[in-house]
Symmetry: C2
DNA sequence: AGTGTATATGTAGGCTGTCTATATATAGAC
DNA sequence: GTCTATATATAGACAGCCTACATATACACT
């Protein structure tokens, strides 16, 4: 998976894995790997700053928790985050349609 | 269309529109707009440097021509460019599959 | 007790491709 | 003579993803 290909789609991915239940960063990385069939292996240096960015934007709400001695920051979708996710899904569809039309060898 | 979303997919788009016939930069921009149903309106400041980059990489071959007093640089796919296009199409399929799985609300 | 691996978060700095804004020049319509 | 379309190109800004590194706990194994 080329790194540049992810540009501009990371937000949608992060919001999407948080749709069903709140998760912390490390669990999000694993969820992305599993749900993509092993294709997406996003480094922590990408995910943690992105989560902070989405929190600053009001799309996620983060909260510190402890499991034994380990600190975790668990993120959940805000209402604004849910709206944003819907918009991202719509944008993804029109994006793939547009690129797909150009790449279609029948053209 | 968000600018970042295109990152990493521009090469595939450019190679793809040149698959059937050689075109010059301006015509490529129009072809992208038409074939995407008006969604892709890529500025010249993106396309011309990208074409040079692909030429340097040996994927395109450019040649100056004149239509009346206007100078045009017409690009055609090289053999390496055709191979690259096949790879880009394959990468596009696995990319959309992976992202689509994560974005799928059924997950 | 010490080593190694998995879990867990985070920062600094680099890279690169896309964008905006600008410049140049010809052709043709009005 | 002016405006728009055609045609190419560069400079510099910007943003986000990356690598590499730093820190710390839990747990298995020796």
């Amino acid at each position: 998976m080329n790194a540049d290909a992810l540009r501009g789609h990371m937000d949608a991915l992060l919001l999407s894995v948080l749709e069903r239940e709140p998760l912390h960063g490390y669990a999000i990385i694993e969820a992305l790997r599993e749900r993509s069939g092993g294709v997406l292996d996003v480094p922590s240096g990408t995910v943690y700053p992105a989560l902070r960015r989405l929190e600053r934007a009001g799309l996620l709400a983060g909260e510190w928790a402890s499991d034994g001695g380990r600190r975790r920051r668990t993120y959940r979708l805000t209402d604004a985050g849910r709206e944003e996710l819907a918009g991202e899904r719509s944008a993804w569809r029109s994006f793939t349609t547009a690129i797909g039309r150009v790449l279609d060898p029948l053209n």
